[in-house]
Symmetry: C2
Subunit: 417 residues, 2 copies
C-alpha cells in the first residue's frame, strides 16, 4: 500500500467517525477525556521510556538546550497533560449551543446552532503535549482529528497517541476519531494538505517555516497560527516605571513564545529619560539591544538595528528599539512590520489610547498591559488550540468555540417560496 | 508593465485604502452608497449601450437563452441595482459592534469588536449586477474590494465599476477602495489567487468549475460558495399534499439556482401513493424525471437514474427520484451525495424531524419547508454576498456580518504576566 493510500484510509476513517462524533453526548465525551487522562498517568513509565529515545536521538543530533527542554517529558509534565484533559472535560460543550434564532414573517422559525467543523488536521512540531491537548480539544468539540507531529518527537507522540486513542475507544468514542500519522516521511504532510474530500480544516502549530509551507501548499482551508512580531509603543505621556515593567515583561518573561515583544517603539519626547531606564534594565536581564540611529544617539554602544531587524521574530533575548516622532509614526511602523498578533501602547493620553486601539490592525490591541496576555487561558477560554493571526474564521486565541461551525435549523409547516 | 505588476499595483492600492476604510464613519459610507446608486441611474443609457456590446458578442458566440437573460440589463434592472445599494445603506453597520466583553480577575478589561476583513477578492461570472452589489456590501462592511468579473460581461462590468468607483471617490471613500480588473486574460485570476500579501479572502461566485479552480489554486483563504445538490425527503408520515407542494416549489420555482432540489427521496411506505401524485405534477411542469429501480416499479416509463445522477447539480428541469426504506437510508444517501447546502424532510413525526435536523450535515436543514428559502433576504439579513458551503468562517447565506473579522481590545493599568 502506498503512503497516500494509507493516509487516505486514516482520513476516511476520521470522516466516518466524525458523523457519529457530531452527535455524541457531552457526558460520553467527558467520560472519555477522564479515561484518557487516567491512561496517560497509568502508562507514564512507558511514555517516559519512549520519550528518552527521542531525547537520545536529539542529543546525538546536537539539538539546542531550549529545544531539548521542549521535547523532554517527566512525571510532572505527564501529570500536567492529564490535568489538561480533565480541565477540558470541565469546560462547557460548545456543540448544540444556540447562536440566535428568528421567526420570519412567513412563520418559518430559523435557529442557528453550533456544530463541529468535522475533521481537523493538526500539523505540529516539538512539544509532545500537543498530541494529548489537541486530541482532547477536538474530541470535546465533536471533531475527529488527524495528528501529524514532528519527527523529533516521533516516539513520544506515537506512544501518547496510542495510549489516549485506546482509552477513548474503550470509553465509547467512535473508532477512528483520533488518527495519528506514524511516519516521519515529509511527503505525508503534502498528502494531508490536499485531502479536501476528508479534511475540513488544517491548523499548523510551529515555526514560521512550517506555517508558511502549510499555507502555500494546502488546498484544504488553513487557520494560520502563531508568528508574532509584536511591538510595545511608549507614548510621550507614559508612566515610565509602568512602561519599563511592561517592556521587560513583554520581552523577557518568555522570549520564545509568539506574544513576546520584538520591537520597542519610543516617543521622541521621552526618549532621553526612558531609553537609559529601559535599556539598562534589559541588559541586566541579558537582552541584546539593537537600536535605530536615534536610539543610539541616546544610548551609546548598541548594535545598529537594520531593516531586517524590524521584520524579525527573534524568539530570543534580542530586542530592536526605534525612536518615533509621534503616535502616527508608531502606528505606521506597526502597520508595515507587524504580523497582526499583539500590540500595546503605554500612555496616559485618552485620545491616543483610543486611536491606537482603533487604528492598529492586530488580533489583540492593548493599552497599558503586556502583550504576553494574548493566550486562551489568560483570556478566560479555559483552553487554547493556538493563536490565529489570520482574519478568517478565528482571530487571536482559539478555544473550543473556534473549533466549531454552525448550521441553520429551519422549521415550517409547508412554506414554499 | 507586466500583467502581474499591474495587478499588484491595484492590490497594493486596495490594501492601502483598507486602512482608511476600516475607520470610515457609517455616515460617510452610507452617503457614498447613495451617491453610487444615483450615479448608476444617471448613467443608465451609457450602461445599456455597453451592455448591448456584451449581448452582441454573446449572441454571435451562440450563448444559451438563459445565459443571455442573466447577462442582459434594462432600465428596470439598473434601477434594481441602484435600489440594492440604497438598501445596503439602510442596513446596520457591522463595524465596531461589540461581540462580548469580560473583566478578568487581574483587572484587564477585554472587549471583542467587529472589524473589516481587509481586502476581499470577488471572482464572478455572468450577472453584471454582482459588480454593484459586491462593491456596495464590501464598502458598507469597511472592506476594500478587488472585482474580477467574467469575460462575457466585460463591457457591462467595466462601465458599472467605473461609474460607482467615481461616485464613491467623489463622496469621500478612500481612493483605491474599489478595484476592477479590466483584462479578460485568465492569467489575472491565477495572479490574484496568490497575492497573500494583499488579499485577506477570495470569494468565488459562479459555476462549479470556477469554484473548483479557485479552491484548488488559491493560497489566499477562500470562502467556497454555491454548489447545491439539495434533497427533499418525504417521510412515511408526511402530509402528501404538502410534500407535493414543497417538492414542486423546490424543483420548479427557479431550477438554475443552488438552493433548488436535485433529488427527491421517498419513503417506501408511501411511495405507491406519493410517486404518481408528485411525478404527474412534475411532468405537468415540464420536468424530466429519472428514477431508481424501485421508483420505476411504481411509475412506468421513466429514464433510469444512474450513479452519476445522484452526484449531479442539474440546474435545470431534471429530477432524480429514489425510494428509500427508512429515515436512516435517506440520511445515509444525503451524507454520501449532498454538497452540504440545503436539505429538507417532510414529516409529521416529531422524532424523525428532530433526528433529521440533528444528523444531516448541511448549512440549512429544514422540516416541512422548501429548500428554496436558503437565501440572505429570506433569512432576514437584508443582503447576500453568496451562500457558503464550507464550514470555516461562514456557513449558509452570507450577509454583512460574514464580511467581518474581529479584534480584541484589552485595557489595563500596567498589568504584566
Amino acid at each position: 500500500m502506498s503512503l497516500e493510500e494509507k493516509i487516505i484510509i486514516k482520513a476516511a476513517q476520521a470522516k466516518q467517525a466524525a458523523f457519529a462524533l457530531a452527535v455524541l453526548s457531552t457526558e460520553a465525551k467527558n467520560q472519555a477525556l477522564h479515561a484518557m487522562a487516567a491512561a496517560l498517568e497509568a502508562r507514564s513509565s512507558l511514555i517516559l521510556l519512549e520519550n528518552a529515545k527521542d531525547i537520545d536521538v536529539a542529543r546525538k543530533m546536537g539539538m539546542s538546550r531550549s529545544m531539548l527542554d521542549r521535547l523532554m517529558l517527566n512525571e510532572e509534565r505527564i501529570l500536567q497533560m492529564a490535568e489538561g484533559l480533565r480541565q477540558t472535560a470541565m469546560l462547557p460543550d460548545p456543540i448544540g449551543q444556540g447562536i440566535g434564532s428568528t421567526l420570519r414573517p412567513n412563520g418559518l422559525e430559523i435557529r442557528k446552532v453550533r456544530v463541529p467543523l468535522g475533521v481537523i488536521g493538526i500539523i505540529y512540531e516539538a512539544r509532545p503535549n500537543v498530541t494529548a491537548d489537541a486530541a482532547g480539544l477536538c474530541l470535546k468539540s465533536g471533531n475527529a482529528v488527524i495528528l501529524r507531529g514532528g519527527s523529533e518527537a516521533i516516539y513520544s507522540n506515537q506512544v501518547i497517541a496510542s495510549v489516549i486513542t485506546k482509552a477513548a475507544y474503550e470509553a465509547g468514542v467512535p473508532e477512528g476519531s483520533i488518527q495519528f500519522i506514524e511516519t516521519t516521511d515529509r511527503q505525508a504532510v503534502r498528502i494531508l494538505l490536499n485531502l479536501n474530500q476528508y479534511l475540513d480544516v488544517i491548523i499548523p502549530r510551529g515555526g514560521a517555516g512550517l506555517i508558511k509551507a502549510v499555507v502555500t501548499n494546502s488546498t484544504v482551508p488553513v487557520i494560520e497560527t502563531g508568528t508574532g512580531v509584536c511591538h510595545t509603543f511608549v507614548d510621550a505621556s507614559a508612566n515610565l516605571e509602568m512602561a519599563k515593567n511592561i517592556s521587560i515583561n513583554a520581552k523577557v518573561s518568555r522570549p520564545s513564545v509568539c506574544n513576546s515583544m520584538e520591537t520597542l517603539l519610543v516617543h521622541e519626547a521621552i526618549a532621553g529619560d526612558f531609553l537609559p531606564l529601559v535599556i539598562d534594565a534589559m541588559k541586566e536581564k541579558g537582552v541584546e539591544v539593537r537600536g535605530c540611529e536615534k536610539t543610539r544617539s541616546y544610548y551609546g554602544g548598541l548594535v545598529p538595528a537594520t531593516e531586517e531587524d524590524w521584520q524579525t521574530e527573534y524568539g530570543d533575548l534580542i530586542l530592536s528599539v526605534k525612536v518615533v516622532a509621534d503616535l502616527d509614526e508608531a502606528i505606521a511602523h506597526i502597520a508595515k512590520y507587524n504580523t497582526k498578533h499583539s500590540e500595546t501602547i503605554v500612555t496616559q493620553d485618552y485620545t491616543n489610547a483610543r486611536k491606537f486601539q482603533q487604528y492598529v490592525d492586530a488580533a489583540a490591541v492593548y493599552v497599558n498591559a503586556s502583550t504576553r496576555f494574548t493566550d486562551g487561558f489568560e483570556f478566560g477560554f479555559g483552553a487554547e488550540i493556538g493563536i490565529s493571526t489570520q482574519k478568517l474564521h478565528a482571530r487571536g486565541p482559539m478555544g473550543l468555540t473556534e473549533l466549531t461551525s454552525a448550521k441553520y435549523l429551519i422549521s415550517g409547516e409547508g412554506q414554499v417560496r
